[in-house]
């Protein structure tokens, strides 16, 4: 069920209506029911995978809890504790293997088939697997839960239905965010009285999300696809234009979708974590990754980065290096290696392609360099008497980060490493600003009007995010305007979303069949 359909709005209306009235006493059960109804539109097989993950991680959680309890109660018996700890490890390993197995199988089977066929000629059946909706999101979420229970961060959830709601809560099924059980449990299971503040906040988020997604992202995607698919035919300036549009598209599509998700959840009184924090204003690559897809970043940090960099082999490597090389390098090497693994995983998560190794290296190397050079930069800043808050310096940092991220975007969107390399090369060697004429723009799949919508939309977006970055509460400000202005503004905003967004592909500029008159 698409977030942009009459059916979804009907679903939402009925869901909310009952949630706050006759089903007030059964709110979380109603949410679970709604979630499964929502998910059932994704097909019966998808439902099977969802149930499988829910069950395995639930059982795993229960078992780990039992082990934790045993360890707690038999603290004194070192052997027993050791045995239980051993079993816990084995059990977590098994659960992870099972679930990651499903994830990898569904996501990369086709790639394996292709590569194997290409390299060795062996032809495996393609199976025509369809990726279940939200697979990686609920997978990450429930695996996080299992690891947290293993670490004893919180007790396991005993009620399987409650746990099932945590895994399947419908707003996040489309594209996350990846929530933690610790944050989400009280949001999901507690009672929510009807509250206009929540409704307002939810609607605001949804409107803003639809605005970003329907008006900006869906328009830009046409141009982006045209340029990336036929990059050989364009001058560097056009390619750069395409990459910038891709940057805008990706952000608007993803963060817009998350806004809708959070808005929908908010209507039910559920707060979901933020996933984006105005990444355009990042001052460094690390800063960018802390503001972009935050829930995945945090997940990676907690469940990959820390365990990996603090694992015995990594620590040993660190002390080994430190013995032989003086200075920072010894400290940095384990960190940078772990960093590389994280970005590689993030890349691979997007799809099985060699280009993600390049993407991982690019981010890993830059971040390592920046750590190594930090003392040097601090010295220079002191010498030049530049303060971090100096607006010009700040602007420079933002622009520099933007460019670095932009180069990374070549990697994530280009078809493969060759295409990425060619595109980068074309951007530098045959930039030719002259080629970026309005005539070229008109051949990229959208009309002048659409460019105008993208431009105005992006400017509005930038303005609002800039004000938010300055910690100005835009919505509070807007609520102080005269009521009539607010109504007109809202009317125009909603009208723009409906007319320029919802109906975008629904109009065939009368291809009047009869032209011979």
């Amino acid at each position: 069920m698409s977030f942009v359909s009459l059916r979804f709005f009907a679903f939402l209306g009925i869901g909310l209506g009952l949630y706050y009235t006759i089903l007030k006493r059964f709110q979380w059960i109603w949410l679970l029911f709604l979630s499964y109804v929502f998910y059932s539109f994704g097909g019966i097989t998808a439902m099977g995978y969802l149930l499988l993950t829910t069950l395995t991680t639930y059982i795993s959680g229960m078992y780990l809890q039992k082990a934790n309890d045993k360890i707690q109660s038999q603290k004194k018996d070192v052997n027993k504790v050791k045995k239980w700890k051993q079993q816990k490890k084995q059990f977590v390993f098994l659960t992870l293997l099972c679930n990651f197995g499903i994830l990898f199988f569904l996501k990369y089977w086709q790639t394996v088939v292709n590569v194997l066929h290409y390299r060795t000629g062996i032809l495996l059946p393609s199976l025509e697997l369809v990726l279940p909706l939200g697979l990686s999101f609920y997978m990450f979420q429930s695996i996080g839960y299992v690891i947290d229970v293993y670490r004893g961060k919180y007790p396991a959830e005993k009620n399987i239905l409650k746990y099932a709601l945590f895994v399947s809560f419908f707003p996040q099924m489309v594209q996350g965010p990846i929530s933690r059980f610790g944050d989400l449990k009280k949001e999901l299971y507690q009672k929510h009285a009807f509250d206009f503040t929540s409704i307002e906040a939810g609607l605001r988020l949804m409107l803003w999300g639809y605005f970003k997604k329907l008006l900006i992202a869906d328009r830009a995607s046409v141009v982006v696809n045209t340029i990336f698919d036929g990059y050989t035919g364009y001058a560097g300036s056009v390619i750069l234009f395409g990459v910038i549009l891709y940057y805008i598209q990706l952000y608007c599509d993803f963060s817009g979708g998350i806004d809708i998700t959070r808005g929908v959840a908010r209507l039910f009184g559920v707060h979901l974590i933020e996933n984006f924090k105005r990444p355009i204003f990042s001052t460094s690559l690390q800063d960018y990754w802390r503001r972009w897809h935050m829930s995945l970043g945090a997940w990676m940090k907690d469940y990959v980065f820390y365990p990996l960099s603090l694992s015995k082999p990594f620590l040993k490597l660190g002390s080994f290096v430190r013995k032989h090389i003086k200075g920072k390098a010894g400290q940095v090497l384990p960190v940078s290696m772990a960093t590389f693994v994280v970005y590689f995983l993030i890349g691979i998560w997007h799809g099985a392609n060699f280009k993600y190794i390049v993407f991982g290296l690019w981010n890993g190397i830059l971040i390592t360099l920046s750590i190594l050079l930090t003392p040097f930069f601090i010295k220079i800043k002191k010498k030049l008497n530049i303060e971090d808050k100096n607006p010009i310096y700040h602007g420079f940092m933002v622009l520099r980060t933007f460019l670095i991220v932009l180069i990374g975007r070549y990697m994530t969107r280009a078809k493969n490493v060759t295409a990425m390399w060619q595109m980068l090369k074309l951007t530098v060697t045959s930039f030719s600003l002259k080629a970026l004429t309005s005539k070229t723009l008109m051949t990229l799949g959208i009309e002048k009007k659409d460019y105008l919508v993208i431009l105005c939309g992006t400017l509005l977006l930038l303005l609002v995010e800039f004000l938010e970055e300055k910690e100005i509460d835009v919505s509070a400000k807007s609520k102080k305007l005269p009521v009539i202005v607010q109504v007109v503004g809202m009317f125009l905003f909603i009208g723009a979303i409906v007319v320029l967004g919802v109906y975008k592909d629904d109009y065939i500029a009368s291809e009047f069949i009869y032209k011979q008159f």
Binding site: L310, S319, P334, V335
Partner: protein, 72 residues
């Protein structure tokens, strides 16, 4: 304590040692924490586990010190 402060200054020369929101305000990012933890393991001979890496344990010099003491 002094030793710990010295360690911290080495990692982040620009750090405010009196702050009690080191992680929350972004003075210490995940890289710093990993570096710091591996240094602590080295210097103090304690065993810090992944479970212990939560913001509350790293928000101030005192908190870090308490963590080390607890694990000794």
């Amino acid at each position: 304590m002094d030793q710990l402060q010295k360690l911290l200054m080495e990692i982040r020369p620009d750090i405010d040692l009196d702050s009690n929101r080191l992680v929350d305000d972004g003075y210490l990012d995940s890289f710093d924490i990993v570096t710091l933890v591996s240094e602590i393991i080295q210097e103090f001979g304690v065993d810090i586990n992944v479970e212990d890496i939560v913001p509350e344990n790293f928000n101030s010099v005192e908190a870090i010190y308490d963590l080390i003491e607890r694990l000794k």
